[in-house]
């Protein structure tokens, strides 16, 4: 199960020095559920020393969704040093997410 982000740990996490992938999702969103296994696989495959794979439930974390301008889910943000570097919207293949992550890992 990917790391769950809340307002209490969000800033700390994205400023941890590691690259952070955040999957914004909600229980009512069917495509989010379809993306879930992909996120799980990414977590299993990626080097956890370099990248943190996290999830943010927008139902309980509306302020975070608003702060980052999330208007559609599923939505993935990739953070490096606290800044948004990439946004990926919708259900996309794992390979596409890896491609987007790549420049921020090596």
């Amino acid at each position: 199960m990917a790391f769950q982000l809340t307002e209490d740990n969000f800033d700390e996490t994205i400023n941890s020095g590691k690259t952070v992938l955040v999957d914004f999702w909600a229980e009512w969103c069917a495509p989010c559920k379809m993306l879930n296994p992909t996120i799980q696989e990414l977590e299993d495959e990626m080097d956890s020393e370099k990248v943190t794979i996290a999830k943010c439930d927008i139902q309980n974390q509306q302020a975070l969704a608003t702060k980052y301008g999330i208007m559609s889910i599923p939505s993935i943000l990739i953070f490096k040093e606290g800044e948004v570097k990439e946004q990926i919207i919708g259900v996309v293949p794992k390979q596409d997410i890896k491609e987007k992550l790549k420049p921020y890992i090596d």
Binding site: A30, M71, I89
Partner: protein, 306 residues
């Protein structure tokens, strides 16, 4: 070699799977997503599938999959990269495996069509959406436009009114195509304002001046409509990429029916079912019916050619 390979795990493919499994055909179904169900998964509430007054789309999909697996259907969650359908031995290559079969059922369905207007791509996920049930909560007390006039558009417009202050339903004709029962609900809903004979020309959702430009085809007038979001439901396009060079399609890219009473394509032993097939009405119940018929025909074909 398998008796039957079913491509696509929506209602057509799963229904074909249930029938094929009960015929004891050696069958696999290949679905590219982790969850079977196809477009049904994105449907909030299904109210017109017999046996259920109302059922959530993902619940219906899950039940269909469980039923098919209960009868012994094997479902492979793999992405097919290439197919060769023309020989007596039909080949499906996925990223991991190569499968061979005597017969095939193409049930790849369709995907939502895009408007292809300026701003649509740019604001995708930032105000442009193709899923009302996913994104409606982001538009609490806001104003949105829904583009389209079919069942999906009207259904999603109604769903959006649970959250929004106002929904403009923008349709290119002077009457809706949706079922009368949905039309009546839309006309009665005080939050929905119909805009007839109009098409969206440009979407611009930059802060402080969010709007969509619409063009009235009758009066030739252009109008700027202030909205916070735009939801697009203007029909579907066929998922035919894998076999478009082998299977005869109609001018819109849907698989052409060769005979009135058959779902066999131009290639013997290859059948089509569900939304991918040319037809007047695309519904879950029809896709399920097609699936049953296609499995029946595949079974007959195998008996005849053994």
């Amino acid at each position: 070699m398998y008796d039957l390979i079913i491509l696509g795990g929506g209602p057509a493919g799963l229904s074909a799977g249930i029938y094929a499994a009960r015929y004891k055909l050696d069958t696999i179904l290949i679905e590219k997503e982790y969850f079977s169900g196809g477009q049904v998964l994105n449907t909030w509430a299904v109210e017109n599938y017999p046996g259920f007054k109302e059922i959530k789309g993902d619940e219906l999909a899950k039940r269909m999959e469980e039923q098919a697996e209960h009868f012994g259907l094997e479902i492979k969650k793999e992405t097919v990269k290439e197919v060769e359908l023309r020989g007596a031995e039909k080949v499906f290559k996925t990223s991991k495996n190569e499968y061979k079969t005597k017969t095939a059922i193409l049930a790849t369905g369709s995907k939502p069509r895009m408007l292809n207007i300026p701003g649509e791509k740019e604001f995708y996920g930032k105000g442009v959406s193709y899923c009302g049930t996913c994104d409606a909560p982001f538009y609490k007390d806001k104003v949105v436009a829904v583009i389209g006039g079919g069942n999906t558009a009207v259904d999603e417009a109604l769903y959006l009114t649970k959250y929004t202050k106002k929904v403009y339903l923008i349709h290119r004709r002077d009457e809706l195509r949706a079922d009368k029962i949905l039309q009546d609900k839309a006309f009665e809903n005080p939050k929905i304002e119909l805009i007839w004979n109009s098409v969206a020309k440009e979407i611009d959702l930059v802060e402080d001046d969010k709007h969509v430009f619409i063009h009235n085809k009758k009066t030739e007038e252009d109008k700027k409509l202030a909205v916070d979001g735009v939801f697009v439901f203007i029909g579907y396009k066929p998922n035919n990429e894998l076999f478009k060079d082998q299977i005869e399609l109609n001018q819109y890219g849907f698989i052409r029916k060769q005979k009135m009473n058959s779902l066999e394509t131009n290639i013997p032993g290859v059948f089509a079912a569900g939304d991918i097939l040319e037809k007047e009405l695309r519904q879950i119940v029809i896709a399920a019916g097609d699936g049953a018929k296609a499995a029946f025909e595949a079974n007959e074909y195998i008996i005849k050619h053994n």
